[in-house]
């Protein structure tokens, strides 16, 4: 019961009909149309969008031919398609084929079988993808090393309250962070060696390092005072007394005698922290010099591309790290090393420690005891997403929360499944 019509007849035909009622319309050539058996609107509705699509097509053709369809339809043409079922579909997405080069694996600490005295070691790096991406699981979780200083220093109140009992003893301080706060490692900062502070001698400072190595059995980081003249001598001496322990020597940088630090690391079996300031090309240059000029093996290099606090340059620190990591993954052999962050720098942000905003225009900042730790957490978390592996931190709560989230994203945290379907009606 097929009836052929000409376009010229279409107007009168369509004029009286709902567009949905066009099931069975076929287009023959450009002008001749085929109408099937006369139309059952319900059935047409059931066949939903197919029919309507044909109708649209039809209308377009009419329009192109100059037929005044728009006037005739007055509103009906705009009537939308009403499918009766969801369109079936599969979602799929590819992997990042261009991430071909893994990040170097670097192990800190050495057990007795490897010539050290640590009870465990920490291995960083080895990634084949951005952190926590499904393309390729991270082989190692993130680790946290907590700060210990060789003399009392100024600290934000919220931090200080945790360390008042150990502030005069680096070894007790070290014990506390491992025993009570879950530190994976300890960083001993030899800040008293700065000629402008106490000018502690390298030999004296090395004793502190020995004490800390005695006090805890986790791997350690040895940090200088930041004085470019003194640090190489201090780190050299510290490296000597810690021979074989695979400590991280912090830091070699372009503005000091990095070769001397590199030499000490090679001689006494340690790892060098290659520190630059938010500048990817400087990082390449220093890594290259450490490898080519000083002969440091790849497995003995870690990078610190500098951590700026949330609100104080974290955007640069984040993007610098992300670029470094992406360059490493896509084949830059001068940048594919694991990274370390001085996350403690977050405490430099006034939001972390100041009693209240100095600006009258601001909303109330709330209690600072809660602002500080979260500043440290978010600074660290942001950089973990950019590819940072090791975090140097200070506040126990910050350490705990950062561990929780990084290990969740890493995939090692189990939790009871949560039903989120009723979040809208939840009483919270």
């Amino acid at each position: 019961m097929t009836k052929k019509i000409k376009l010229s007849e279409l107007g009168s035909l369509l004029g009286g009909l709902d567009i949905e009622a066009l099931e069975g319309v076929k287009i023959e050539g450009d002008v001749e149309l085929d109408l099937g058996h006369m139309l059952n609107p319900q059935m047409a509705y059931a066949l939903g969008h197919e029919a309507a699509q044909i109708a649209h097509h039809l209308i377009n053709i009419s329009r192109i031919l100059g037929y005044p369809v728009d006037q005739m339809f007055s509103g009906t043409a705009a009537k939308p398609i009403r499918p009766s079922r969801l369109i079936e579909s599969k979602f799929s997405v590819g992997r990042m084929e261009e991430w071909k080069t893994p990040i170097q694996e670097v192990t800190l600490g050495a057990t007795s079988s490897d010539g050290g005295s640590r009870s465990s070691t920490v291995t960083l790096g080895g990634e084949h993808a951005l952190p926590y991406y499904f393309d390729n699981p991270m082989p190692h979780r993130n680790y946290i090393t907590m700060d210990v200083f060789d003399m009392p220093i100024n600290m934000a109140k919220a931090v200080k309250s945790n360390y008042e009992d150990v502030i005069n003893s680096p070894s007790e301080w070290a014990k506390k962070v491992v025993r009570d706060f879950g530190a994976d490692m300890v960083t001993v900062h030899l800040i008293s060696t700065d000629p402008n502070i106490k000018d502690t001698s390298p030999a004296e400072a090395a004793k502190t390092v020995e004490e800390v190595l005695q006090a805890v059995d986790v791997p350690i980081v040895i940090g200088g005072s930041g004085n470019p003249e003194k640090d190489p001598v201090v780190l050299e001496k510290a490296a000597e007394v810690a021979e074989g322990e695979r400590c991280l020597l912090a830091s070699a940088s372009l503005n000091l005698d990095y070769a001397r630090i590199a030499e000490a690391a090679k001689k006494y079996n340690h790892v060098v922290l290659s520190w630059t300031q938010l500048e990817i090309n400087a990082q390449k240059e220093l890594n290259r010099k450490l490898m080519k000029q000083c002969g440091v093996a790849r497995e003995n290099i870690l990078m610190d591309p500098t951590t700026a606090a949330l609100g104080y340059g974290l955007d640069y620190a984040y993007t610098n790290m992300e670029r470094i990591r992406l360059a490493g993954l896509t084949g830059d052999a001068e940048l594919n090393f694991p990274m370390s962050s001085g996350t403690t720098n977050a405490w430099g942000a006034r939001e972390a420690w100041m009693v209240a905003s100095p600006l009258k225009e601001d909303s109330d900042w709330g209690p600072r005891e809660y602002r500080g730790p979260i500043w440290e957490i978010i600074t660290g978390l942001t950089l973990s997403l950019a590819g940072n592996d090791l975090f140097m931190m200070m506040h126990p709560t910050a350490v705990q929360v950062l561990k929780e989230i990084t290990q969740t994203l890493y995939g090692s945290k189990e939790a009871e499944p949560t039903n989120i379907d009723n979040w809208i009606t939840a009483v919270i």
């Binding site: 969801l86 499904f134 100041m354 900042w365 809660y370 730790p373 979260i374 942001t382 929360v401 995939g411």
Partner: protein, 469 residues
């Protein structure tokens, strides 16, 4: 966008260099279209009929990879989505993640009004602007359409901020839409179960709608179906789980969606993404723990691809890092890190005004400047050229030295004898170790200021003017 060089764009422009767009040449204008600092509508000749075809072509070629959706009307309306890249250094991210904080229809009226005001009035000064939050999400807890509609009415009378209407019950959404249909609210959400009716609402009221499913196949089905129905203003909610493996999978879903949209050009799901950090409150009761974890979730999804999120906690210690991290990720990395080195006046300094040293790192400089001007301190600030590195790092790295400081005043032609009667400069507390050097090199008296410029007012009370020697 499909075009990436000004030359490609230039081909579509009128090429008459009439300068009506504010650029001297069409080529310069083309460059602004590429970096999205100007819009097609800024070129009047292009809007004429003769260029209609080119205009339409350009419009689709320049459209962002991720669809841009508008919620709300008027000055508070928010653009959501619109990104073109996976990493901010490749261009910049557009349209900072919209933050919607929740209220619910079982709140007592006064409580509701106070909470809305807290949301709407939150502000944090930062580098010359205020960081603020954007929307109010109204949750239907009662299940009662009338009650919900009256709460929504109250909210819309109390604030100009755009709204998200949250219910899985189409009848409830409809009741609220009747009340605020002119305000272009976002409706949450269409699911596998209710999609047909919610789609009707989106069509009838012409409002943007969130599609929700933690199964990406289903989410794509919803997206395809709605688009087939002619609904384009869509946002995807891939489900935000607060903990464990479910959270890891949430993270993966966001990455998959965005990679499919931007890298693989899968147009039909290249849509803005919604996250619900609020789900932290489903597993933690204690306000501090829940606020912390909510902020952690928010941070993860600010970095990895949420374009809008619904939050609950209004604790300042949670909101401050939230707004700062959003600013961190969405700040345009193409803008310079540095301010021009030199000596600048704050207020109207006289001969007994202090001279304060800082670096030319933009953040440091603007922080110091806002602290001084907000506290109405007349003074000079010297921005020393440290290659855009902050004080502490520049002292450590040797970019802030006595010689550099001297050089800054020399280049600026700043003569202490002529401009001041105290021949004194103030070093930042974090540069205290340079004191001796600076005294030797400049021959000036050097005072050590506080380690944070926010404390300059208090410091001034105690230490300024300097006691005569």
């Amino acid at each position: 966008m499909k075009l990436n060089s000004p030359l490609q764009v230039y081909k579509y422009l009128p090429q008459i260099n009439c300068a009506e767009c504010g650029d001297a040449t069409c080529m310069a204008f083309a460059a602004h279209l590429i970096d999205r600092s100007k819009k097609l509508e800024d070129c009047p000749p292009l809007l004429k009929d003769e260029f209609k075809k080119k205009y339409l072509e350009l419009e689709s070629l320049l459209a962002p990879e991720v669809r841009e959706i508008i919620v709300g009307r008027g000055e508070h309306a928010k653009k959501i989505g619109g990104d073109d890249v996976l990493y901010r250094h490749q261009l910049t991210f557009f349209n900072p993640t919209t933050f919607a904080y929740d209220v619910w229809d079982t709140m007592a009226e006064q409580e509701l009004v106070d909470r809305i005001n807290n949301i709407a009035n939150f502000r944090k000064f930062y580098v010359g602007k205020f960081l603020k939050v954007d929307m109010v999400a109204v949750r239907c807890v009662s299940g009662d359409a009338l009650k919900f509609a009256s709460a929504v009415k109250k909210v819309s009378e109390t604030t100009e901020l755009p709204l998200v209407l949250c219910s899985f019950d189409p009848a409830v959404l409809r009741a609220a839409l009747e009340v605020v249909k002119d305000k272009n609210p976002l409706i949450y959400a269409a699911t596998e179960k209710n999609w047909g009716e919610v789609a009707e609402l989106a069509l009838n009221y012409k409002v943007p709608v969130v599609l929700s499913s933690s199964d990406l196949d289903k989410l794509r089905s919803l997206a395809l179906t709605f688009q087939e129905m002619g609904i384009k203003e869509l946002i995807l909610d891939p489900g935000t789980y607060p903990q464990g493996k479910q959270l890891k999978e949430t993270f993966e879903r966001c990455i998959k969606l965005r990679r499919a949209g931007i890298k693989e050009g899968q147009k039909d799901i290249a849509l803005p993404i919604m996250a619900l950090p609020l789900s932290a409150w489903l597993v933690y009761n204690d306000a501090v723990t829940a606020s912390y974890w909510e902020t952690v979730l928010a941070s993860v999804f600010i970095v990895r691809y949420a374009d809008i999120m619904i939050l609950h906690g209004l604790e300042p210690y949670a909101m401050l890092p939230q707004v700062h991290l959003r600013d961190t990720i969405y700040t345009d990395p193409r803008t310079p890190v540095k301010v021009a080195p030199g000596v600048n006046e704050i207020g109207s300094p006289t001969k007994d005004s202090p001279v304060i040293i800082t670096t030319n790192f933009a953040l440091t400089y603007y922080t110091v400047e806002s602290d001084l001007s907000s506290n109405k301190i007349n003074c000079y600030i010297a921005a020393v050229d440290t290659d855009g590195i902050g004080v502490e790092a520049a002292v450590a790295g040797g970019q802030l030295t006595a010689a550099k400081i001297k050089d800054t005043f020399q280049k600026a032609g700043f003569d202490f004898k002529e401009k001041t009667d105290h021949s004194t400069l103030i070093l930042p507390g974090l540069a205290a170790r340079l004191q001796g050097d600076v005294e030797d090199v400049t021959g000036l008296r050097v005072m050590i200021g506080p380690p944070d410029s926010g404390r300059i007012p208090g410091w001034m009370e105690k230490n300024w003017p300097p006691k005569p020697k």
